[in-house]
Symmetry: C2
Subunit: 111 residues, 2 copies
């Protein structure tokens, strides 16, 4: 994924979560896709997010570790590292945890 998006409609008021540990700006691409560009800030931040729509999180800078919701038998999943250029997907009506050592810059794409 490119770290630059052209011809987007940008909403200039930021979305602020977890007292500023996560800040993002929402935008709509030229072909109508809803996305947000954001950052999760360390040091050693651990957050949990829930999803209503399916999402794909793509790293555009820094890194994170993520873990999806426990499986059907309630078994916790492994923590998985994501660095620049790598993505992970979260189903709709689900949740995930994320750990950030320093900073994780991302683009979130909504299904």
């Amino acid at each position: 994924m490119s770290s630059v998006f052209e011809r987007v409609t940008l909403r200039t008021r930021a979305n602020v979560y977890f007292d500023g540990k996560c800040v993002s700006h929402a935008f709509t691409t030229a072909n109508g896709e809803e996305k947000s560009a954001g950052v999760i800030l360390g040091p050693n931040t651990e957050l949990g997010f829930s999803t209503s729509k399916a999402e794909v999180m793509t790293c555009v800078g820094g890194s994170c570790e993520y873990r999806l919701r426990a499986d059907e038998e309630g078994r916790a999943r492994e923590w998985i590292t994501r660095v620049e250029g790598e993505s992970f997907a979260i189903e709709e009506n689900s949740s995930f945890e994320i750990r950030v050592k320093d900073a994780y810059h991302y683009v979130c794409s909504y299904a």
Copy 2:
């Protein structure tokens, strides 16, 4: 100023200042103007910024108080409040202080 910008080129990696107290995303407008959309987060944050190019800060949410650099005789200036829709200008190669109680969402336009 609108809180939505259309047909912009957005750089998705955030700019992070003062350990995350100020986060912004840079973009270029359809007619080539360089701007950034950002937020300064409270509680009761006081920051100082210097400028290389002249800038105009426009509030798109929340509020702030700002104070430009002291005048030629070194006299401190008054703190001035800015709320949504209001702007202030800073000369090139200058500086300003800003106080934010809760949150100040802004668009910064560079000359």
